[in-house]
Symmetry: C2
Subunit: 333 residues, 2 copies
Protein backbone atom coordinates (compact mmCIF):
# COMPACT_ATOMS: atom_id res chain seq x y z
CA UNK A 1 0.00 0.00 0.00
CA UNK A 2 1.37 3.39 -1.00
CA UNK A 3 -0.81 6.46 -1.26
CA UNK A 4 0.20 8.22 -4.47
CA UNK A 5 1.52 11.78 -4.22
CA UNK A 6 1.17 14.73 -4.62
CA UNK A 7 -1.82 15.40 -2.38
CA UNK A 8 -4.80 17.73 -2.35
CA UNK A 9 -5.69 18.28 1.33
CA UNK A 10 -9.45 18.20 1.97
CA UNK A 11 -10.40 20.49 4.87
CA UNK A 12 -14.17 20.10 4.48
CA UNK A 13 -16.10 22.45 6.73
CA UNK A 14 -13.53 22.35 9.56
CA UNK A 15 -14.90 24.66 12.27
CA UNK A 16 -11.40 25.72 13.33
CA UNK A 17 -7.70 25.04 12.76
CA UNK A 18 -7.62 22.29 15.39
CA UNK A 19 -10.14 20.21 13.42
CA UNK A 20 -7.70 20.29 10.50
CA UNK A 21 -4.67 19.16 12.49
CA UNK A 22 -4.25 16.02 10.40
CA UNK A 23 -3.86 18.19 7.30
CA UNK A 24 -1.51 20.50 9.18
CA UNK A 25 0.64 17.52 10.22
CA UNK A 26 0.89 16.32 6.64
CA UNK A 27 1.82 19.80 5.45
CA UNK A 28 4.35 20.32 8.26
CA UNK A 29 6.23 17.06 7.66
CA UNK A 30 5.67 16.55 3.93
CA UNK A 31 5.15 19.99 2.40
CA UNK A 32 6.79 18.69 -0.81
CA UNK A 33 3.79 16.35 -1.22
CA UNK A 34 1.08 19.01 -0.77
CA UNK A 35 -0.04 20.97 -3.85
CA UNK A 36 -3.23 22.53 -2.57
CA UNK A 37 -6.20 22.59 -0.22
CA UNK A 38 -9.94 22.27 -0.89
CA UNK A 39 -12.45 23.86 1.47
CA UNK A 40 -16.23 23.66 1.62
CA UNK A 41 -18.69 26.35 2.73
CA UNK A 42 -18.23 27.08 6.43
CA UNK A 43 -14.58 26.07 6.61
CA UNK A 44 -12.64 28.17 9.12
CA UNK A 45 -9.29 26.42 8.69
CA UNK A 46 -6.62 27.64 6.28
CA UNK A 47 -3.28 25.97 5.68
CA UNK A 48 -2.03 28.78 3.45
CA UNK A 49 -1.91 26.42 0.47
CA UNK A 50 -3.51 27.38 -2.89
CA UNK A 51 -7.27 26.68 -2.88
CA UNK A 52 -8.05 24.31 -5.73
CA UNK A 53 -11.18 22.89 -7.30
CA UNK A 54 -11.06 19.21 -8.19
CA UNK A 55 -10.46 19.93 -11.91
CA UNK A 56 -7.68 22.36 -10.99
CA UNK A 57 -6.08 19.78 -8.72
CA UNK A 58 -6.26 17.09 -11.39
CA UNK A 59 -4.77 19.46 -13.95
CA UNK A 60 -1.96 20.34 -11.53
CA UNK A 61 -1.01 16.67 -11.26
CA UNK A 62 -2.53 15.81 -7.89
CA UNK A 63 -2.78 12.04 -7.48
CA UNK A 64 -4.67 11.70 -4.16
CA UNK A 65 -7.14 13.71 -2.13
CA UNK A 66 -6.50 13.22 1.59
CA UNK A 67 -9.20 13.88 4.18
CA UNK A 68 -7.32 16.18 6.52
CA UNK A 69 -10.16 17.07 8.88
CA UNK A 70 -11.48 15.17 11.89
CA UNK A 71 -14.84 15.30 13.62
CA UNK A 72 -16.33 13.87 16.79
CA UNK A 73 -17.70 10.56 15.54
CA UNK A 74 -15.11 10.02 12.82
CA UNK A 75 -17.95 10.05 10.31
CA UNK A 76 -18.09 11.02 6.63
CA UNK A 77 -20.95 13.53 6.51
CA UNK A 78 -23.30 13.48 3.52
CA UNK A 79 -22.26 16.95 2.41
CA UNK A 80 -18.69 15.73 1.76
CA UNK A 81 -19.83 12.98 -0.60
CA UNK A 82 -20.17 15.04 -3.77
CA UNK A 83 -16.62 16.37 -3.52
CA UNK A 84 -15.18 12.92 -2.80
CA UNK A 85 -17.08 11.42 -5.74
CA UNK A 86 -15.94 14.28 -7.97
CA UNK A 87 -12.32 13.62 -6.98
CA UNK A 88 -12.62 9.93 -7.84
CA UNK A 89 -14.27 10.72 -11.16
CA UNK A 90 -11.44 13.12 -11.94
CA UNK A 91 -8.94 10.27 -11.49
CA UNK A 92 -7.75 10.94 -7.93
CA UNK A 93 -7.45 8.30 -5.22
CA UNK A 94 -8.91 9.25 -1.83
CA UNK A 95 -7.39 8.53 1.59
CA UNK A 96 -8.95 8.92 5.02
CA UNK A 97 -7.97 8.22 8.62
CA UNK A 98 -11.53 8.51 9.94
CA UNK A 99 -13.22 5.76 11.88
CA UNK A 100 -16.01 5.35 9.33
CA UNK A 101 -14.76 3.90 6.08
CA UNK A 102 -14.92 5.55 2.69
CA UNK A 103 -15.46 2.04 1.35
CA UNK A 104 -18.64 1.65 3.44
CA UNK A 105 -20.27 4.68 1.82
CA UNK A 106 -22.18 3.26 -1.17
CA UNK A 107 -21.92 6.37 -3.37
CA UNK A 108 -18.18 6.66 -2.73
CA UNK A 109 -17.49 2.94 -3.13
CA UNK A 110 -19.49 2.90 -6.34
CA UNK A 111 -17.66 5.92 -7.77
CA UNK A 112 -14.28 4.38 -6.93
CA UNK A 113 -15.25 1.15 -8.67
CA UNK A 114 -16.52 2.93 -11.77
CA UNK A 115 -13.47 5.17 -11.97
CA UNK A 116 -11.00 2.40 -11.14
CA UNK A 117 -9.54 4.47 -8.29
CA UNK A 118 -8.33 3.38 -4.84
CA UNK A 119 -9.83 4.22 -1.46
CA UNK A 120 -7.42 4.16 1.50
CA UNK A 121 -9.11 3.77 4.87
CA UNK A 122 -5.85 3.88 6.79
CA UNK A 123 -7.39 3.31 10.22
CA UNK A 124 -8.50 -0.12 9.01
CA UNK A 125 -5.62 -2.41 8.04
CA UNK A 126 -6.30 -4.28 4.85
CA UNK A 127 -2.99 -6.02 4.40
CA UNK A 128 -2.91 -9.77 4.86
CA UNK A 129 -0.92 -10.08 8.04
CA UNK A 130 1.11 -12.95 9.45
CA UNK A 131 2.16 -13.51 13.04
CA UNK A 132 5.54 -12.17 14.05
CA UNK A 133 8.59 -14.40 14.37
CA UNK A 134 11.06 -12.30 16.33
CA UNK A 135 13.81 -13.49 13.97
CA UNK A 136 16.63 -10.97 13.56
CA UNK A 137 16.63 -9.12 10.26
CA UNK A 138 19.24 -6.80 8.76
CA UNK A 139 18.98 -3.03 9.07
CA UNK A 140 18.73 -0.84 12.16
CA UNK A 141 15.60 0.32 13.91
CA UNK A 142 14.75 3.07 16.35
CA UNK A 143 11.43 2.98 18.21
CA UNK A 144 9.84 5.82 20.15
CA UNK A 145 8.22 4.58 23.37
CA UNK A 146 6.14 6.61 25.77
CA UNK A 147 5.28 7.21 29.39
CA UNK A 148 1.70 7.59 28.10
CA UNK A 149 -0.41 7.84 24.95
CA UNK A 150 -0.33 11.11 22.96
CA UNK A 151 2.94 12.45 24.32
CA UNK A 152 4.55 13.22 20.96
CA UNK A 153 5.91 9.89 19.70
CA UNK A 154 4.91 10.59 16.09
CA UNK A 155 6.39 14.10 16.11
CA UNK A 156 9.60 12.87 17.75
CA UNK A 157 9.92 10.09 15.17
CA UNK A 158 9.42 12.48 12.26
CA UNK A 159 11.87 15.00 13.73
CA UNK A 160 14.50 12.29 14.13
CA UNK A 161 13.93 11.15 10.53
CA UNK A 162 14.29 14.73 9.29
CA UNK A 163 17.49 15.34 11.27
CA UNK A 164 19.01 12.05 10.09
CA UNK A 165 18.16 12.74 6.46
CA UNK A 166 19.61 16.26 6.82
CA UNK A 167 22.86 14.62 7.96
CA UNK A 168 22.85 12.31 4.95
CA UNK A 169 21.99 9.21 6.96
CA UNK A 170 19.64 6.56 5.55
CA UNK A 171 16.44 6.85 7.55
CA UNK A 172 12.74 6.25 6.93
CA UNK A 173 9.83 7.05 9.21
CA UNK A 174 7.57 3.99 9.62
CA UNK A 175 3.99 4.87 10.49
CA UNK A 176 1.83 2.89 12.92
CA UNK A 177 -1.15 5.24 13.31
CA UNK A 178 -3.56 6.92 10.93
CA UNK A 179 -2.01 10.40 10.86
CA UNK A 180 1.46 8.95 10.48
CA UNK A 181 0.25 6.78 7.59
CA UNK A 182 -1.24 9.76 5.78
CA UNK A 183 2.05 11.64 6.27
CA UNK A 184 4.25 8.73 5.12
CA UNK A 185 1.80 7.42 2.53
CA UNK A 186 2.11 3.91 3.94
CA UNK A 187 2.11 1.98 7.21
CA UNK A 188 -0.25 -0.05 9.37
CA UNK A 189 -2.50 1.13 12.22
CA UNK A 190 -1.19 -1.43 14.69
CA UNK A 191 -3.86 -0.76 17.30
CA UNK A 192 -6.49 -1.78 14.74
CA UNK A 193 -5.03 -5.15 13.74
CA UNK A 194 -6.27 -8.41 15.23
CA UNK A 195 -4.39 -8.96 18.50
CA UNK A 196 -2.49 -12.02 17.27
CA UNK A 197 -0.85 -9.94 14.54
CA UNK A 198 0.52 -6.92 16.43
CA UNK A 199 4.17 -7.96 16.29
CA UNK A 200 3.71 -9.37 12.79
CA UNK A 201 2.44 -5.97 11.62
CA UNK A 202 5.45 -4.28 13.20
CA UNK A 203 7.77 -6.70 11.40
CA UNK A 204 6.00 -6.02 8.11
CA UNK A 205 6.38 -2.23 8.27
CA UNK A 206 10.09 -2.38 9.14
CA UNK A 207 11.39 -5.21 6.93
CA UNK A 208 14.97 -6.29 6.23
CA UNK A 209 17.06 -3.42 4.90
CA UNK A 210 20.63 -2.23 4.31
CA UNK A 211 22.87 -2.70 7.36
CA UNK A 212 23.31 1.07 7.71
CA UNK A 213 19.64 1.94 7.14
CA UNK A 214 17.49 3.10 10.04
CA UNK A 215 13.75 2.61 10.30
CA UNK A 216 12.36 5.23 12.67
CA UNK A 217 9.28 3.42 13.97
CA UNK A 218 6.39 5.46 15.39
CA UNK A 219 5.51 4.11 18.83
CA UNK A 220 1.97 3.66 20.17
CA UNK A 221 0.55 3.81 23.68
CA UNK A 222 2.71 2.90 26.65
CA UNK A 223 3.72 -0.28 28.46
CA UNK A 224 2.24 1.51 31.50
CA UNK A 225 -1.16 2.35 30.00
CA UNK A 226 -3.68 -0.22 31.30
CA UNK A 227 -5.81 0.09 28.17
CA UNK A 228 -3.21 -0.23 25.44
CA UNK A 229 -0.01 -1.82 26.77
CA UNK A 230 -0.54 -4.96 24.69
CA UNK A 231 -0.23 -2.91 21.51
CA UNK A 232 2.95 -1.27 22.84
CA UNK A 233 4.55 -4.61 23.73
CA UNK A 234 3.76 -6.25 20.39
CA UNK A 235 5.15 -3.21 18.60
CA UNK A 236 8.29 -3.36 20.76
CA UNK A 237 8.86 -7.04 19.99
CA UNK A 238 8.06 -6.75 16.29
CA UNK A 239 10.20 -3.70 15.62
CA UNK A 240 13.15 -5.31 17.48
CA UNK A 241 14.68 -1.86 18.08
CA UNK A 242 18.40 -1.22 18.30
CA UNK A 243 17.63 2.16 19.86
CA UNK A 244 14.81 3.47 22.03
CA UNK A 245 13.79 7.09 22.55
CA UNK A 246 11.56 7.66 25.56
CA UNK A 247 8.82 10.25 24.93
CA UNK A 248 7.20 12.22 27.73
CA UNK A 249 4.78 15.09 28.36
CA UNK A 250 5.78 16.68 31.69
CA UNK A 251 2.46 18.37 32.57
CA UNK A 252 0.42 15.16 32.32
CA UNK A 253 -1.09 14.40 35.75
CA UNK A 254 -2.46 10.90 35.05
CA UNK A 255 -2.55 8.36 32.23
CA UNK A 256 -4.60 9.71 29.34
CA UNK A 257 -8.31 9.05 29.86
CA UNK A 258 -7.77 7.32 33.23
CA UNK A 259 -7.82 9.74 36.20
CA UNK A 260 -7.08 6.87 38.63
CA UNK A 261 -3.90 5.75 36.84
CA UNK A 262 -0.65 7.55 37.77
CA UNK A 263 2.17 8.25 35.30
CA UNK A 264 5.16 5.93 35.61
CA UNK A 265 8.54 7.10 36.82
CA UNK A 266 10.66 7.80 33.72
CA UNK A 267 13.51 5.55 34.82
CA UNK A 268 11.14 2.67 35.60
CA UNK A 269 9.39 3.14 32.27
CA UNK A 270 12.64 3.11 30.32
CA UNK A 271 13.92 0.06 32.24
CA UNK A 272 10.72 -1.90 31.55
CA UNK A 273 10.91 -1.07 27.85
CA UNK A 274 14.56 -2.08 27.63
CA UNK A 275 13.88 -5.33 29.46
CA UNK A 276 10.98 -6.26 27.17
CA UNK A 277 12.87 -5.18 24.03
CA UNK A 278 15.77 -7.52 24.82
CA UNK A 279 13.54 -10.49 23.93
CA UNK A 280 13.99 -9.75 20.23
CA UNK A 281 17.12 -7.57 20.35
CA UNK A 282 19.53 -8.12 23.26
CA UNK A 283 21.66 -5.22 21.98
CA UNK A 284 18.93 -2.59 22.42
CA UNK A 285 20.01 0.67 24.09
CA UNK A 286 18.26 3.85 25.16
CA UNK A 287 19.65 6.87 23.34
CA UNK A 288 17.67 9.73 24.83
CA UNK A 289 14.43 11.36 25.88
CA UNK A 290 12.05 13.40 23.71
CA UNK A 291 9.99 15.76 25.86
CA UNK A 292 6.92 17.58 24.57
CA UNK A 293 7.38 20.93 26.33
CA UNK A 294 4.69 22.78 24.38
CA UNK A 295 2.86 23.69 27.59
CA UNK A 296 5.93 25.15 29.29
CA UNK A 297 7.65 28.51 28.74
CA UNK A 298 11.21 28.48 27.54
CA UNK A 299 12.80 28.67 31.00
CA UNK A 300 10.61 25.94 32.43
CA UNK A 301 11.19 23.80 29.34
CA UNK A 302 14.97 24.07 29.60
CA UNK A 303 14.84 23.33 33.35
CA UNK A 304 12.66 20.29 32.71
CA UNK A 305 15.01 18.96 30.04
CA UNK A 306 18.08 19.47 32.24
CA UNK A 307 16.43 17.67 35.17
CA UNK A 308 15.38 14.69 33.03
CA UNK A 309 18.81 14.46 31.38
CA UNK A 310 20.44 14.53 34.79
CA UNK A 311 18.06 11.95 36.32
CA UNK A 312 18.41 9.45 33.48
CA UNK A 313 21.95 10.18 32.35
CA UNK A 314 20.72 10.57 28.77
CA UNK A 315 20.34 13.48 26.37
CA UNK A 316 16.91 15.10 26.60
CA UNK A 317 15.40 17.50 24.09
CA UNK A 318 12.10 18.74 22.75
CA UNK A 319 12.70 17.60 19.16
CA UNK A 320 10.10 19.98 17.74
CA UNK A 321 11.09 23.05 19.79
CA UNK A 322 14.86 22.59 20.05
CA UNK A 323 15.58 20.02 17.36
CA UNK A 324 16.38 16.31 17.40
CA UNK A 325 20.13 16.93 17.15
CA UNK A 326 21.07 15.56 20.59
CA UNK A 327 19.16 12.32 19.88
CA UNK A 328 20.85 11.78 16.52
CA UNK A 329 24.22 12.67 18.06
CA UNK A 330 23.64 9.87 20.58
CA UNK A 331 22.59 7.49 17.83
CA UNK A 332 25.77 8.20 15.89
CA UNK A 333 27.94 8.08 19.04
CA UNK B 1 -23.35 -14.57 24.84
CA UNK B 2 -24.15 -17.90 26.43
CA UNK B 3 -24.32 -21.12 24.43
CA UNK B 4 -27.41 -22.99 25.65
CA UNK B 5 -26.91 -26.43 27.18
CA UNK B 6 -27.17 -29.41 27.02
CA UNK B 7 -24.97 -30.14 24.01
CA UNK B 8 -24.90 -32.66 21.19
CA UNK B 9 -21.22 -33.09 20.23
CA UNK B 10 -20.67 -33.21 16.46
CA UNK B 11 -17.68 -35.40 15.56
CA UNK B 12 -18.20 -35.30 11.78
CA UNK B 13 -15.87 -37.65 9.96
CA UNK B 14 -12.99 -37.25 12.42
CA UNK B 15 -10.19 -39.51 11.12
CA UNK B 16 -8.97 -40.26 14.66
CA UNK B 17 -9.49 -39.37 18.31
CA UNK B 18 -7.00 -36.50 18.16
CA UNK B 19 -9.14 -34.71 15.57
CA UNK B 20 -12.01 -34.76 18.10
CA UNK B 21 -9.99 -33.32 20.98
CA UNK B 22 -12.23 -30.27 21.26
CA UNK B 23 -15.20 -32.57 21.89
CA UNK B 24 -13.14 -34.62 24.33
CA UNK B 25 -12.21 -31.47 26.25
CA UNK B 26 -15.84 -30.43 26.52
CA UNK B 27 -16.83 -33.90 27.71
CA UNK B 28 -13.92 -34.10 30.17
CA UNK B 29 -14.64 -30.78 31.87
CA UNK B 30 -18.41 -30.48 31.39
CA UNK B 31 -19.79 -34.02 31.13
CA UNK B 32 -23.00 -32.80 32.77
CA UNK B 33 -23.63 -30.67 29.65
CA UNK B 34 -23.11 -33.47 27.11
CA UNK B 35 -26.10 -35.65 26.18
CA UNK B 36 -24.82 -37.36 23.07
CA UNK B 37 -22.56 -37.48 20.02
CA UNK B 38 -23.32 -37.44 16.31
CA UNK B 39 -20.96 -39.08 13.83
CA UNK B 40 -20.92 -39.10 10.05
CA UNK B 41 -19.74 -41.89 7.75
CA UNK B 42 -15.99 -42.41 8.12
CA UNK B 43 -15.79 -41.16 11.70
CA UNK B 44 -13.09 -42.99 13.69
CA UNK B 45 -13.53 -41.07 16.94
CA UNK B 46 -15.81 -42.21 19.74
CA UNK B 47 -16.40 -40.37 23.01
CA UNK B 48 -18.46 -43.20 24.49
CA UNK B 49 -21.55 -40.98 24.55
CA UNK B 50 -24.89 -42.21 23.11
CA UNK B 51 -25.01 -41.77 19.32
CA UNK B 52 -28.00 -39.60 18.45
CA UNK B 53 -29.71 -38.46 15.28
CA UNK B 54 -30.78 -34.83 15.18
CA UNK B 55 -34.46 -35.70 15.94
CA UNK B 56 -33.35 -37.90 18.84
CA UNK B 57 -31.17 -35.10 20.23
CA UNK B 58 -33.98 -32.56 19.94
CA UNK B 59 -36.39 -34.97 21.64
CA UNK B 60 -33.85 -35.54 24.43
CA UNK B 61 -33.76 -31.81 25.14
CA UNK B 62 -30.47 -30.88 23.48
CA UNK B 63 -30.26 -27.11 22.97
CA UNK B 64 -27.03 -26.74 20.99
CA UNK B 65 -24.94 -28.79 18.60
CA UNK B 66 -21.23 -28.08 19.10
CA UNK B 67 -18.68 -28.77 16.36
CA UNK B 68 -16.18 -30.85 18.32
CA UNK B 69 -13.84 -31.78 15.49
CA UNK B 70 -11.00 -29.82 13.96
CA UNK B 71 -9.34 -30.09 10.56
CA UNK B 72 -6.28 -28.60 8.91
CA UNK B 73 -7.73 -25.45 7.37
CA UNK B 74 -10.41 -24.91 9.99
CA UNK B 75 -12.99 -25.23 7.23
CA UNK B 76 -16.60 -26.39 7.25
CA UNK B 77 -16.68 -29.08 4.55
CA UNK B 78 -19.71 -29.34 2.29
CA UNK B 79 -20.62 -32.79 3.58
CA UNK B 80 -21.24 -31.36 7.07
CA UNK B 81 -23.76 -28.81 5.85
CA UNK B 82 -26.84 -31.04 5.71
CA UNK B 83 -26.43 -32.13 9.34
CA UNK B 84 -25.86 -28.56 10.54
CA UNK B 85 -28.90 -27.32 8.63
CA UNK B 86 -30.97 -30.21 10.01
CA UNK B 87 -29.91 -29.27 13.56
CA UNK B 88 -30.96 -25.66 13.03
CA UNK B 89 -34.29 -26.72 11.54
CA UNK B 90 -34.87 -28.97 14.54
CA UNK B 91 -34.52 -25.98 16.85
CA UNK B 92 -30.91 -26.35 17.96
CA UNK B 93 -28.34 -23.57 18.03
CA UNK B 94 -24.94 -24.45 16.53
CA UNK B 95 -21.52 -23.47 17.92
CA UNK B 96 -18.09 -23.77 16.30
CA UNK B 97 -14.53 -22.83 17.13
CA UNK B 98 -13.28 -23.28 13.57
CA UNK B 99 -11.51 -20.55 11.65
CA UNK B 100 -14.16 -20.45 8.92
CA UNK B 101 -17.45 -19.10 10.16
CA UNK B 102 -20.75 -20.93 10.18
CA UNK B 103 -22.29 -17.52 9.47
CA UNK B 104 -20.29 -17.23 6.22
CA UNK B 105 -21.79 -20.46 4.82
CA UNK B 106 -24.90 -19.31 2.88
CA UNK B 107 -26.92 -22.51 3.42
CA UNK B 108 -26.18 -22.52 7.14
CA UNK B 109 -26.75 -18.80 7.61
CA UNK B 110 -30.01 -19.04 5.70
CA UNK B 111 -31.24 -22.00 7.75
CA UNK B 112 -30.41 -20.20 11.01
CA UNK B 113 -32.33 -17.13 9.88
CA UNK B 114 -35.36 -19.15 8.81
CA UNK B 115 -35.38 -21.19 12.02
CA UNK B 116 -34.63 -18.23 14.28
CA UNK B 117 -31.64 -20.06 15.77
CA UNK B 118 -28.24 -18.71 16.82
CA UNK B 119 -24.84 -19.48 15.29
CA UNK B 120 -21.84 -19.11 17.61
CA UNK B 121 -18.53 -18.65 15.82
CA UNK B 122 -16.53 -18.45 19.01
CA UNK B 123 -13.17 -17.80 17.37
CA UNK B 124 -14.58 -14.52 16.09
CA UNK B 125 -15.61 -12.11 18.85
CA UNK B 126 -18.94 -10.46 18.14
CA UNK B 127 -19.39 -8.56 21.36
CA UNK B 128 -19.17 -4.79 21.19
CA UNK B 129 -15.97 -4.18 23.10
CA UNK B 130 -14.70 -1.12 24.91
CA UNK B 131 -11.12 -0.28 25.84
CA UNK B 132 -9.96 -1.37 29.28
CA UNK B 133 -9.70 1.07 32.16
CA UNK B 134 -7.57 -0.79 34.70
CA UNK B 135 -9.93 0.45 37.44
CA UNK B 136 -10.11 -1.91 40.43
CA UNK B 137 -13.31 -3.93 40.61
CA UNK B 138 -14.61 -6.19 43.39
CA UNK B 139 -14.09 -9.93 43.35
CA UNK B 140 -10.87 -11.94 43.15
CA UNK B 141 -9.12 -13.19 40.04
CA UNK B 142 -6.54 -15.85 39.30
CA UNK B 143 -4.77 -15.86 35.93
CA UNK B 144 -2.71 -18.67 34.46
CA UNK B 145 0.40 -17.36 32.70
CA UNK B 146 2.86 -19.38 30.65
CA UNK B 147 6.49 -19.80 29.74
CA UNK B 148 5.16 -20.50 26.23
CA UNK B 149 1.98 -21.07 24.21
CA UNK B 150 0.18 -24.42 24.54
CA UNK B 151 1.69 -25.48 27.86
CA UNK B 152 -1.59 -26.33 29.61
CA UNK B 153 -3.01 -23.01 30.78
CA UNK B 154 -6.61 -23.98 29.92
CA UNK B 155 -6.36 -27.37 31.62
CA UNK B 156 -4.71 -25.85 34.70
CA UNK B 157 -7.44 -23.20 34.92
CA UNK B 158 -10.22 -25.77 34.64
CA UNK B 159 -8.56 -28.07 37.20
CA UNK B 160 -8.25 -25.17 39.66
CA UNK B 161 -11.91 -24.27 39.11
CA UNK B 162 -12.94 -27.89 39.72
CA UNK B 163 -10.86 -28.18 42.89
CA UNK B 164 -12.18 -24.88 44.24
CA UNK B 165 -15.78 -25.82 43.53
CA UNK B 166 -15.20 -29.22 45.19
CA UNK B 167 -14.09 -27.33 48.30
CA UNK B 168 -17.22 -25.18 48.23
CA UNK B 169 -15.39 -22.04 47.12
CA UNK B 170 -17.01 -19.64 44.66
CA UNK B 171 -15.06 -20.02 41.43
CA UNK B 172 -15.81 -19.66 37.72
CA UNK B 173 -13.56 -20.52 34.80
CA UNK B 174 -13.39 -17.58 32.36
CA UNK B 175 -12.54 -18.62 28.82
CA UNK B 176 -10.29 -16.65 26.47
CA UNK B 177 -9.83 -19.17 23.63
CA UNK B 178 -12.16 -21.12 21.40
CA UNK B 179 -12.02 -24.50 23.14
CA UNK B 180 -12.40 -22.85 26.53
CA UNK B 181 -15.41 -20.92 25.27
CA UNK B 182 -17.10 -24.08 24.01
CA UNK B 183 -16.43 -25.71 27.40
CA UNK B 184 -17.69 -22.74 29.45
CA UNK B 185 -20.41 -21.75 27.00
CA UNK B 186 -19.19 -18.14 27.07
CA UNK B 187 -16.03 -16.06 26.86
CA UNK B 188 -14.05 -14.04 24.32
CA UNK B 189 -11.19 -15.21 22.07
CA UNK B 190 -8.83 -12.44 23.16
CA UNK B 191 -6.25 -13.14 20.48
CA UNK B 192 -8.93 -12.43 17.86
CA UNK B 193 -10.09 -9.03 19.14
CA UNK B 194 -8.82 -5.77 17.67
CA UNK B 195 -5.56 -4.92 19.44
CA UNK B 196 -6.92 -1.82 21.17
CA UNK B 197 -9.47 -3.95 23.00
CA UNK B 198 -7.38 -6.77 24.51
CA UNK B 199 -7.50 -5.52 28.08
CA UNK B 200 -11.10 -4.35 27.64
CA UNK B 201 -12.09 -7.87 26.59
CA UNK B 202 -10.35 -9.29 29.67
CA UNK B 203 -12.23 -6.83 31.86
CA UNK B 204 -15.52 -7.80 30.23
CA UNK B 205 -15.14 -11.54 30.84
CA UNK B 206 -14.18 -11.11 34.51
CA UNK B 207 -16.53 -8.36 35.70
CA UNK B 208 -17.19 -7.08 39.23
CA UNK B 209 -18.30 -9.90 41.51
CA UNK B 210 -18.73 -10.89 45.17
CA UNK B 211 -15.66 -10.10 47.30
CA UNK B 212 -15.08 -13.82 47.93
CA UNK B 213 -15.70 -14.94 44.34
CA UNK B 214 -12.77 -16.06 42.20
CA UNK B 215 -12.64 -15.80 38.42
CA UNK B 216 -10.16 -18.36 37.12
CA UNK B 217 -9.03 -16.66 33.92
CA UNK B 218 -7.58 -18.79 31.13
CA UNK B 219 -4.24 -17.31 30.07
CA UNK B 220 -3.00 -17.00 26.49
CA UNK B 221 0.49 -17.05 24.98
CA UNK B 222 3.45 -15.83 27.00
CA UNK B 223 5.10 -12.50 27.77
CA UNK B 224 8.19 -14.18 26.32
CA UNK B 225 6.68 -15.33 23.02
CA UNK B 226 7.78 -12.85 20.32
CA UNK B 227 4.61 -13.48 18.29
CA UNK B 228 1.93 -13.13 20.94
CA UNK B 229 3.23 -11.29 24.01
CA UNK B 230 0.96 -8.32 23.36
CA UNK B 231 -2.09 -10.53 23.87
CA UNK B 232 -0.60 -11.89 27.10
CA UNK B 233 0.13 -8.41 28.46
CA UNK B 234 -3.31 -7.02 27.68
CA UNK B 235 -4.89 -10.06 29.29
CA UNK B 236 -2.67 -9.60 32.36
CA UNK B 237 -3.65 -5.94 32.73
CA UNK B 238 -7.34 -6.48 32.05
CA UNK B 239 -7.80 -9.43 34.38
CA UNK B 240 -5.95 -7.55 37.17
CA UNK B 241 -5.12 -10.85 38.88
CA UNK B 242 -4.76 -11.25 42.63
CA UNK B 243 -3.03 -14.58 42.03
CA UNK B 244 -0.83 -15.92 39.23
CA UNK B 245 -0.16 -19.57 38.42
CA UNK B 246 2.84 -20.10 36.15
CA UNK B 247 2.30 -22.87 33.58
CA UNK B 248 5.16 -24.78 32.00
CA UNK B 249 5.93 -27.76 29.76
CA UNK B 250 9.35 -29.10 30.76
CA UNK B 251 10.24 -30.93 27.53
CA UNK B 252 9.79 -27.86 25.30
CA UNK B 253 13.13 -27.00 23.67
CA UNK B 254 12.20 -23.64 22.11
CA UNK B 255 9.23 -21.30 21.93
CA UNK B 256 6.37 -22.91 20.05
CA UNK B 257 6.78 -22.45 16.29
CA UNK B 258 10.05 -20.50 16.65
CA UNK B 259 13.16 -22.73 16.65
CA UNK B 260 15.44 -19.69 17.16
CA UNK B 261 13.65 -18.50 20.32
CA UNK B 262 14.76 -20.03 23.64
CA UNK B 263 12.40 -20.71 26.54
CA UNK B 264 12.63 -18.20 29.39
CA UNK B 265 13.97 -19.10 32.80
CA UNK B 266 10.97 -19.84 35.04
CA UNK B 267 11.99 -17.36 37.72
CA UNK B 268 12.55 -14.58 35.18
CA UNK B 269 9.22 -15.36 33.54
CA UNK B 270 7.35 -15.21 36.82
CA UNK B 271 9.11 -12.00 37.88
CA UNK B 272 8.25 -10.28 34.58
CA UNK B 273 4.60 -11.31 34.91
CA UNK B 274 4.40 -10.09 38.50
CA UNK B 275 6.02 -6.79 37.59
CA UNK B 276 3.62 -6.18 34.71
CA UNK B 277 0.60 -7.31 36.74
CA UNK B 278 1.30 -4.75 39.48
CA UNK B 279 0.21 -1.98 37.10
CA UNK B 280 -3.44 -2.90 37.68
CA UNK B 281 -3.12 -4.89 40.93
CA UNK B 282 -0.20 -4.02 43.21
CA UNK B 283 -1.25 -6.86 45.57
CA UNK B 284 -0.72 -9.62 42.98
CA UNK B 285 1.16 -12.70 44.19
CA UNK B 286 2.38 -15.93 42.63
CA UNK B 287 0.76 -18.95 44.24
CA UNK B 288 2.36 -21.83 42.38
CA UNK B 289 3.43 -23.60 39.21
CA UNK B 290 1.33 -25.91 37.02
CA UNK B 291 3.56 -28.27 35.05
CA UNK B 292 2.32 -30.33 32.12
CA UNK B 293 4.29 -33.55 32.73
CA UNK B 294 2.38 -35.67 30.21
CA UNK B 295 5.60 -36.51 28.34
CA UNK B 296 7.45 -37.67 31.47
CA UNK B 297 7.14 -40.95 33.37
CA UNK B 298 6.01 -40.77 36.99
CA UNK B 299 9.53 -40.67 38.48
CA UNK B 300 10.73 -38.01 36.09
CA UNK B 301 7.54 -36.02 36.63
CA UNK B 302 7.91 -36.02 40.42
CA UNK B 303 11.59 -35.08 40.14
CA UNK B 304 10.73 -32.24 37.80
CA UNK B 305 8.03 -30.91 40.14
CA UNK B 306 10.33 -31.12 43.16
CA UNK B 307 13.10 -29.27 41.34
CA UNK B 308 10.80 -26.47 40.18
CA UNK B 309 9.20 -26.13 43.63
CA UNK B 310 12.64 -25.89 45.16
CA UNK B 311 13.97 -23.40 42.60
CA UNK B 312 11.01 -21.03 42.87
CA UNK B 313 10.00 -21.61 46.49
CA UNK B 314 6.43 -22.25 45.39
CA UNK B 315 4.18 -25.32 45.22
CA UNK B 316 4.44 -27.13 41.89
CA UNK B 317 2.01 -29.76 40.59
CA UNK B 318 0.69 -31.27 37.41
CA UNK B 319 -2.95 -30.30 38.03
CA UNK B 320 -4.29 -32.93 35.62
CA UNK B 321 -2.05 -35.79 36.75
CA UNK B 322 -1.72 -35.09 40.47
CA UNK B 323 -4.55 -32.64 41.11
CA UNK B 324 -4.71 -28.90 41.69
CA UNK B 325 -4.83 -29.30 45.47
CA UNK B 326 -1.45 -27.67 46.23
CA UNK B 327 -2.38 -24.61 44.15
CA UNK B 328 -5.73 -24.15 45.89
CA UNK B 329 -4.06 -24.72 49.28
CA UNK B 330 -1.71 -21.85 48.46
CA UNK B 331 -4.62 -19.69 47.34
CA UNK B 332 -6.43 -20.30 50.61
CA UNK B 333 -3.25 -19.88 52.68
Amino acid sequence: MQIATPYLLFLGDAPDDLAAKTARGILHWRSRNCLGQIRLAGCNADLGLPDMTIPEAAAAGVKSMVIGVANAGGVIPDHWTDTIVEALEAGLDVASGLHHRLADNPAIADAARRAGRSLFDVRHPRTNLTTGTGAKRPGKRLLTVGTDCSVGKMFASLAIEAEMQARGLKADFRATGQTGILIAGSGISVDAVVADFISGAAEMISPANDPDHWDIVEGQGSLFHPSFAGVSLGLLHGSQPDALVLCHEPTRRHMRGLPHAPLPDLGDCLAANLQAARLTNPAVRAIGVAVNTSRLDDTAARDCLARIADDLGLPATDPVRYGAGPLVDALEG
